[in-house]
Symmetry: C2
Subunit: 233 residues, 2 copies
DNA sequence: TTCATAGTTCGATGCTAACCAAAGTATGAA
DNA sequence: TTCATACTTTGGTTAGCATCGAACTATGAA
């Protein structure tokens, strides 16, 4: 009985269209202001404000004030993973659109999942790193190997800084589009940042789609295959 | 915008206390009749009937008629996994009860997750099998090895029959209590069945808790450690 | 200070949906 | 056929909550 109550409490927070749209927007990973989220949800500011208060009270959102702005973001990765899993069920049993539009295809290929790369590209990267021994998989735990630390440092990531943080460096995250794991954690986030900094890929405006440039895609795939694909800076 | 709508649609189905209690009850893995679910949710039969219709229409439940009974069960494993992930968020940010009661402790140790073993025991089993090369982990894919096929057949499972079904033999399922994977799929379900048949463990009445008997626990742990722990029948 | 922007709080409205009782349908047993 | 059980449908009530406009607070800029 109690399990059901907890379940309902969390689910009902997600179960309102306005709130769900806000949460979906925040799956993009960037923190957004109350006004932006109001736009996103298609409601007025007062309404949005009330929703945001409920989501924050419920523990799904984290808020930081900056001047006269209030930036809202998903509370943590567990919340993001939960939303992905709900989206997964929705996608599985709601192929209302027969043909997956170009947008959906792009989402399946590469998208942002909170702050790291997901979709086929994300899964391919995860598998490649594991296969080359850059990360070690033990059950659901994923750990950086010595070899991996060297490689990723060479790629431009500050591994030491990542280790200092509370957030795990490596984590696997289940992918609804392919039902396999991809790389999350600060390493996953860092890699995506690098891809964008290197102009291998860019985020599509107002969407979670990640678009690789043709040369970026080539460089990305070369990197997956072998060490000489490294592009130091 | 569309993503949010889908999200809300599914989440709102779970977001009602009566429905959530029904779903939580069905996480036990056994199919239940409409009357039983009405009891579970604390509502009258007509109300329950309406809820069950909505859950079925929404694709979260599967119904089979048997005489004048209607048995309801979760639609598939993806739905079960989604519910676990929502429960995970609820558990993480809702430690309203400061002390985890004995019930919660037992749930963390060993519980049923739809039809297979979860909790610390489930995770330990998953890790042990992986460590001994009985299953091979590749990203989120889990596959039975030849060595594993031999071992599990010796343990009393009909591996060939499992391979004939559409359901995957091995699958990993993320565990909210320990944040690691445990073994799902028909192999996971089959193992739990064996444990119960061997009287190593039994299901606690009206709960998802799995209780190991003292000799059962010992046999279970011996099995995890080495091949000679095998208890053919 | 004064004005503007960002956000919250308040009060009122209206819609949705959860709920139950009673009547209706279907299946099985006598 | 008749009765009982299991469930669904219908109709009507009620409660919750999403929504908005208007007033209020707080931060920053002129």
């Amino acid at each position: 009985m109690k399990a059901g109550t907890d379940l309902a409490q969390i689910a009902s927070l997600v179960g309102d269209p306005a709130r769900a749209n806000m949460l979906a927007a925040l799956m993009g990973g960037t923190a957004l202001t109350a006004s932006e989220l109001a736009m996103e949800a298609g409601v007025t500011l007062p309404t949005a404000s009330a929703h945001l208060a409920r989501l924050s009270d419920g523990g799904l959102l984290r808020m930081t004030r900056q001047g006269r702005h209030r930036y809202y973001a998903l509370a943590d990765h567990q919340v993001a993973a939960m939303l992905e899993s709900i989206m997964g069920v929705a996608a599985a049993l709601g192929p209302r659109k027969v043909l997956p539009g170009p947008r959906d295809t792009a989402m399946r290929e590469a998208r942002i999942c909170y702050d790291h790369l997901a979709g086929e590209a994300g899964v391919a990267m995860f598998d490649a790193f594991a296969g080359r021994g850059l990360i070690a998989i033990d059950g659901d735990d994923v750990n950086l190997t010595d070899k991996g630390a060297g490689f990723f440092s060479g790629f431009g990531l500050d591994i030491e800084a990542m280790r200092g943080k509370r957030r795990p460096v490596c984590r696997s995250c289940l992918d609804w589009s392919v039902r396999r794991s991809h790389l999350a954690g600060s390493l996953g986030a860092g890699m995506l940042d690098r891809f964008i900094a290197l102009k291998w890929a860019r985020r599509e405006k107002n969407s979670r789609v990640i678009r690789f440039t043709p040369p970026g895609r080539a460089a990305f795939e070369k990197m997956l295959r072998a060490d000489e694909g490294r592009t130091g800076a």
